[in-house]
Amino acid sequence: MLEASGIDAFYGQAHILHGVGLSVGRGEVLALLGRNGAGKSTTMKSIIGLVRPAAGSVRLDGAELAGLPPHEIARAGIGYVPEERRVFTELTVMENLSVGLQPARDSTPTWTPERLFELFPNLAEMRDRQGGRMSGGEQQMLTIARTLMGNPRVILLDEPSEGLAPVIVDQMARTVQELKRDGLTVLLSEQNLHFASAVADRATIIEKGIIRYSGTMAALAADEEARAAYLTV
């Protein structure tokens, strides 16, 4: 469904991604794994268009997206949840959700604030709270909910477990599983192998901007050598 291939990306002179490619099938959860600074976030940003790939292609159901401005990529059906959350701190929960609002799509379930509050019951109790007055976990949920308001076909979750308390991480894992059950396609970047194993079907490992490994989550679990080479610190 989402197909990226041969992506090269730069920050100024620094060459960050070298021909990165990955593919996520419909309704699948793919974990993009790698150490700090391996290029996970840059891969995500290249897909949504916040970093303009110097070369390569990003296709959603065959339609080329590379080179388009971010808002057009988002409208094509890619939802992006940034690592730093980037909640609008001055805006209330409801206002944050309204920024993400996009027209309904035939191919995906249509999200409304009420439906999202079922998925994230905590948020329902703080509709008028400002984004800046929420805890990290609440902000993480808000930023996912905000992106879902755009009714995406694929959602990019950049390190959703980062900086969260273990109990919230478990809650987050359940949320991803529920989204998968709803038929959403998910690309998730993670350093937390435990979290990734709980939710992902397949894994792709990136190191220094190069894809090193691709396989099912089960195969990775069995492959101690790959884990030691690319993931353990």
Partner: protein
């Protein structure tokens, strides 16, 4: 008692227009991060348009207020054109280019206004139905002022509703905080930017349109209001509408009551209030900490120690300049003297701007204070030229000491706006203090000493002083002082962490740059034999910026090349009636197409060729 009440109400009324213009500027800045210099031009256009439209309609309440609204909307549409044609291309450029490009718009609008409406001031009509006065305990308050007192809070309330009760307003507030994220959520930023610019321009146009019964409509309105608006925004806090309102009221009241207490120095009062606010709250009354936007440092190129080739080139240039008088005529010598003096002026700006990252929009203050320092010494105490040329940099350096103390507390666009406000204050003092400075008539008879009165001698005097000044500035750029300054430019936090007192460094650099600008100004006064207030006007400050920009911010030779280019250009177009229009278009063109300047672009071209080989 009733006298003070009326005075207070007058202050509130004059705050209304100021608030409209300032909040428009603030809203535009919030989303686009551009300080729109042309905002004063929108204000001026609003006044001209309203007066013209109302004159074509039959007199009546509806036609008056209808004209005001239509004028505001037309200005909004002009704003859209400016946004699409100019700003859209420079949203990612360094702030210097944005400021200078919008100043190009100021020049273009000035000449277009002159072409359409002519040079004479116009008197607007009185507002029908509001043309008499209200009696408050024996004191009279114009009815129109009452309308304005209501208008200010009414617009404030409407804007609050617009920003808090519509999805568009929510999107704008979201984009003010993180426009990239708003884009990643599927919102077309371009539309937001354009619509915000429309709103901001409308507000400025409205601010000008409602002023027509209160003040004559003139070609000076644009720059006069922009300096006041910058003060309002700096006091109120950039991006805060309520802050703009509070600050406008404060300024309005200060003007109303200041005139009673110190009629001569209301400006100084304004300055003191601004100083107090900035010391207590550097981001203004309701301003928020500046958000880090975009990756600016990546655009700053390193400044390299001059290699043998550069040194040789500079030597050859000096030799050529030294030989020129042997075969050049008087006209060329006069032109070259001006180029050299402005080159020193530009080099002094480059010292704090290219090297220190401080974009000063009021550098002409030092040039002008140097010029006036020298001229006043000659006129009032018969000083010889030699003494006057010592006083010039001393006076300008002292001004740098005072202005700099405030300016180094701010950074980025706040720094630019505050420096412009200081320059404008200095300009007004010179302009209004007729007994001492001669006001608009200037000071005449500033001639060099006997030995330097000959054109050749003065040329060599200028050459030696300018070459010495430029060398000293270069020497400082490559001293530990200069390195510390660049460290602060590139990363204030890290330079703090390694023990550099950045504020002191910057403060010192402003004093030094001010002194050299003052030296150039002093010589300039002697080269012309006279000095006028425009030596420290906004256009002169922009001249310095354009020279640095033409040459390229990241190169040392830039200011010299830029000075030659600008004066050559001005000399070439000054014979046209509408030379401002041409200059404005050239400035805009440069900002849009060659963000590296002449020298910078040449360097890049050479580097590119070398890489290909």
């Amino acid at each position: 008692m009733s006298f003070f009440v009326v005075q207070f109400l007058t202050g509130l009324a004059s705050a209304a227009s100021l608030f409209l213009v300032a909040c428009g500027l603030s809203i535009i800045f919030g989303v686009t991060r551009i300080v729109n210099f042309a905002h004063g031009s929108f204000y001026m256009l609003g006044a001209y348009l309203a007066a013209t439209i109302v004159a074509t309609l039959p007199v009546g309440i509806f036609s008056y207020w209808g004209s005001v609204l239509v004028a505001a909307l037309v200005v909004g549409l002009i704003g859209i054109v400016v946004e699409i044609v100019v700003l859209r291309r420079i949203y990612h450029a360094p702030e210097l280019f944005q400021l200078v490009a919008t100043f190009g718009v100021v020049l273009v609008v000035q000449d277009l206004t002159l072409a359409i409406w002519g040079p004479a001031d116009k008197l607007g009509p009185l507002a029908p139905g509001l043309d008499s006065a209200v009696n408050i305990g024996g004191q009279l308050l114009p009815e129109y002022d009452v309308a304005l007192i209501i208008l200010g809070p009414a617009v404030l309330g409407l804007l609050w509703l617009l920003f808090h009760r519509t999805r568009w307003g929510t999107l704008v507030r979201a984009a003010t905080q993180d426009r990239e994220m708003v884009g990643a959520l599927g919102v077309n930023q371009r539309r937001i930017f354009t619509s915000v610019f429309f709103l901001g321009a409308c507000l400025a146009g409205l601010g000008g349109a409602v002023q027509i019964p209160r003040e004559p409509i003139s070609l000076m309105m644009d720059l006069n209001v922009i300096a006041e608006v910058f003060v309002v925004v700096v006091i109120g806090g950039m991006g805060s509408i309520l802050g703009a309102f509070l600050a406008a009221v404060i300024i309005g009241e200060l003007n109303a009551f200041g005139i009673l207490i110190f009629p001569e120095i209301t400006l100084v009062l304004l300055f003191l209030v601004m100083a107090v606010v900035l010391v207590i709250r550097p981001r203004g009354l309701l301003g928020k900490p500046e958000l880090t936007v975009g990756a600016q440092p990546a655009q700053i190129a390193a400044i390299h120690l001059p290699g043998p080739a550069t040194k040789l080139a500079m030597g050859v240039l000096f030799a050529v300049l030294a030989l020129v008088p042997l075969f050049a005529g008087d006209f060329l010598l006069v032109l070259l003297i001006e180029v050299m003096l402005l080159a020193l002026f530009a080099a002094s700006l480059h010292f704090i701007m290219g090297n220190g990252g401080m974009v000063s929009f009021g550098h002409a203050a030092y040039f002008g204070i140097g010029a006036y320092g020298a001229a006043l010494a000659v006129v009032h105490s018969d000083s010889p030229m030699e003494l006057a040329l010592v006083l010039a940099p001393t006076a300008a350096g002292l001004a740098g000491l005072v202005f700099g103390w405030f300016c180094v507390r701010l950074s980025g666009v706040y720094f630019a706006m505050l420096s412009l406000a200081f320059a404008q204050i200095a300009w007004s003092v010179v302009f209004q203090w007729y007994e001492v400075t001669g006001g608009d008539d200037g000071l005449l008879g500033i001639w060099p000493s006997e030995w330097a009165s000959d054109r050749f001698a003065f040329y060599y005097l200028s050459l030696i002083i300018v070459a010495g000044g430029v060398l000293m500035l270069r020497r400082m750029i490559f001293s530990p002082f200069g390195y510390a300054l660049r460290a602060g430019r590139d990363s204030p936090l890290r330079s703090d962490a390694i023990g550099i007192n950045l504020r002191h460094q910057q403060w010192a650099s402003i004093v030094i740059a001010g002194a050299f600008a003052g030296l150039a100004g002093g010589l300039y006064a002697f080269s012309k034999g006279s000095v006028f207030p425009d030596a420290m006007s906004i256009p002169r400050s922009v001249d310095a910026l354009v020279m640095v920009l033409l040459g390229g911010v990241d190169t040392l030779a830039g200011p010299l090349v830029g000075a030659a280019a600008l004066i050559g250009l001005e000399d070439a177009i000054s014979r046209f009636d509408y030379w401002r229009l041409i200059l404005g278009l050239v400035i805009i063109l440069i900002c849009v197409t060659a963000p590296n300047g002449i020298v910078g672009s040449l360097k890049l071209a050479f580097a590119g060729r070398r890489e290909r080989e």
